[in-house]
């Protein structure tokens, strides 16, 4: 291939002086006459399809996460089967997640989830990200899990959950329910839910919830503590 970046590969041999418009025109005429006018667009396509991501070794993952070797193997086999290229991008992620919620629209919440898993914010979730997230949720301490949940809610990752962020999250969760619910969903339901959430969590009533307030309030809530056991035997 020989040329990296740049849209016009044929210009790579040309010195700076002939990049002027006149040079353009002469080169165009020359290519027109000799029939080499069409750009080599075929080469560009090869760049995309060979992207493949291999995770680090099994031992390293064992150290970084709290899964056993066998569990990692099973997880990876499933992951690799679904995504042979080794990474999940946002579209695939949304598609996968929507299969579990046929009645509603889960795309917004899937986006938030994707951003929560994509810890290095490069637009794709690799196996390491996937397993790291799962390890925190399924094998982490209660504080770890609450931390993860806070990270999910904090859309712009600035350490504070504002009412707008919470409202976005709430709306996306309610979207997943779809239209046919009992009792029927009202317009204000998400907002009311956000209000009650803030009432519970926001200790100093400053309109934002910090991580300490969040963890403190959650630890005081018995329901939440009890429901945490939910995640102990998912895998």
């Amino acid at each position: 291939m020989g040329c990296v970046g740049g849209s016009n590969c044929s210009m790579s041999w040309c010195p700076r002086s002939c990049r002027s418009p006149l040079g353009h025109a002469v080169r165009f005429l020359f290519q027109f006459v000799t029939g080499t006018l069409a750009p080599d667009s075929v080469e560009d396509e090869f760049e995309l399809s060979t992207v493949c991501h291999r995770p680090e070794g099994l031992e390293q993952l064992q150290e970084q996460t709290k899964f056993t070797r066998k569990e990692l193997q099973v997880l990876y086999r499933g992951f690799k089967n679904e995504c042979p290229s080794g990474i999940v991008n946002e579209e695939n992620f949304k598609q996968i997640y929507s299969q579990f919620f046929p009645q509603g629209d889960s795309s917004t919440y899937a986006t938030f989830l994707f951003n929560a898993f994509d810890t290095n914010h490069d637009g794709s979730v690799s196996f390491e990200d996937f397993v790291a997230g799962l390890s925190v949720i399924l094998r982490g301490t209660i504080d770890d899990r609450l931390n993860w949940a806070f990270n999910l809610y904090d859309l712009n990752k600035d350490g504070f959950i504002t009412k707008e962020e919470m409202l976005d999250i709430m709306k996306s969760i309610y979207d997943m329910m779809g239209k046919y619910t009992y009792p029927a969903l009202r317009e204000e339901a998400p907002r009311e839910h956000v209000e009650s959430f803030f009432q519970k969590m926001d200790r100093n009533k400053d309109g934002v919830v910090t991580i300490e307030e969040f963890i403190e309030s959650c630890q005081k809530d018995e329901n939440i503590m009890r429901s945490m056991q939910l995640f102990d035997n998912v895998i």
Binding site: N92, I96, P102, Y174, K179, T181, S227
Partner: protein, 669 residues
Amino acid sequence: MAAGVATWLPFARAAAVGWLPLAQQPLPAAPQGCEARSDEVLVVNVSGRRFQTWKNTLDRYPDTLLGSSEKEFFFDPDSGEYFFDRDPDLFRHVLNFYRTGRLHCPRQECIQAFDEELAFYGIVPELIGDCCLEEYRDRKKENAERLAEDEEAELGGPGGAGADWALPPGSPFRQRLWRAFENPHTSTMALVFYYVTGFFIAVSVIANVVETIPCAAGGRAGWQEEPCGDRFPLAFFCMDTACVLIFTGEYLLRLFAAPSRGRFLRSVMSLIDAVAILPYYIGLFVPKNDDLSGAFVTLRVFRVFRIFKFSRHSQGLRILGYTLKSCASELGFLLFSLTMAIIIFATVMFYAEKGTSKTNFTSIPAAFWYTIVTMTTLGYGDMVPSTIAGKIFGSICSLSGVLVIALPVPVIVSNFSRIYHQNQRADKRRAQQKVRLARIRMAKSGTTTAFLQYKRNRGLEVGLCPGPALSTRSRSAFEQQHHHLLHCLEKTTSHEFTDESTFSEALGVISLGGRTSRSTSVSSQAVIGTSARASGLISSCCPRQSKQRRAIRLANSTASVSRGSMQELDTLAGHRSPGPQSRASLNAKTHDSLTLNCDSQDLVAAIISIPTPPANTPDESRPHSPASDSGEGPGRPSGGSSSSNRGALRNSSLGPSYLLHNTVKISSL
């Protein structure tokens, strides 16, 4: 992306940690007894060839033979492998389906054999992936047609395409007449008529042509020549009259025999017929004065349209007409680009030749003629440029003319064949698309229905002691976990999933009587048949609950029907959660001791064909479940009778659905 939703389910459940802090109610407990991911390698021996695969791979599609406990029937404990006495070559494709989620059709195998293998392994042929689906369908159709032809040849029918079978003897004369017109080779009379009309069309056209040839006029005005039509006016008039009479008769007969006269009047062929005979009649009724005779002569031009009547006799003409019609946009584009080129060159030539005296290029429109003649390489030579600039531009014009004319022609020709084949394929795909969308919708509604069923069944666990293992065993681990996930979402948002009918019912005001009538009217024909029969038997012992059970059977038929379609196509996951009954349940739950007073086991006789599932789940049981749901937490609902009533209701939901699944199973064999 391959199907394998089971892989992602743990991830989706883990992600539910995001709902935890928001839930205003406590989330439900995780389902117990979900065995750890036992990942072992199974050996499948198909006629001596050993295939090995993970157990999880096979578990992806619990509705097939290999994915359910049905394969235990084939287990050989001595060798520790599953032995199938089937074709090993075709098994490879079946196993690949489990691995990749896409079913491919082998090119060199017989379609019939492949179908049989799929039927044995419980895989629905509609799951064949897009890449092979078209070919599969083509070959299948070919096969079917060939078989049908062979059958027909055996029976000694007339053979050939089209509606050639003999009409029943009692059919009306009108229908026979129309059949005779459309398919002339069905009877000798029709054939005779066909050839006679063809002959007269030819005679009429030839007469029109000969009419204009100059015949030598005898004597009267020297060597003046006049057309034969003026020399023998009577003869030509008689011939014309005869032809028109026959055409008119044919037209009127066709009009009489047409099954839909409006459509016949609007069809192209009848318009051509009308245009062919009208000039004659107009000529009859127009008085012979000089003003109108000019217009009358023009009308004679339309007589040439009679030649188009030949298209009834020629298949090729019809195809040509159709393809011209479908290529209209390409032709239009060709015309447009030609017009552009003509205008450009005409302008250039005009200005190039402007200075010359006595030039032919008097105006740009006058130069159009030169440009057209030059570009189509005709070169009549009546207009030639004389200046040098004109000659240069003229040569460029003729060179580009070759390009402009010659290039689109192969494009149009290939367009013809492409469009023709494409039309055929597009129609096929459209029909398949409708079916596919319908199935996707059914699958989605099936999941919801399954979940609602799960919620109703949960009441069984609460209200009825000896049965907690029953309902859990009847659903696969995947289903349990999926339902638990949906349940968590419900608790988070403090709203519950319902279906469309309950939702609209909650919005409106509907009486009980309306509900029951709706539930019965909603069912498909077959289900009505079985439910009527079944309810007849049930009503003998349990009159109170027969209506409810009938309605519940509707729901289960939805679920069971969509079970068949659960095995999914490429867009949705293959591992859909089917209805509450799966193959595993069928084999595992053989004799569930349900505390049912009426033993409705002997209603299995009904066979249900599965065309369209009934749309809605019943609503009778709906009002019960919110009560039961809210009653779950703070203790049992008081009143033994009410709980037993509800419990019995839950019971009955399992009973007939179990037998319903039996019947579905029978029909799918």
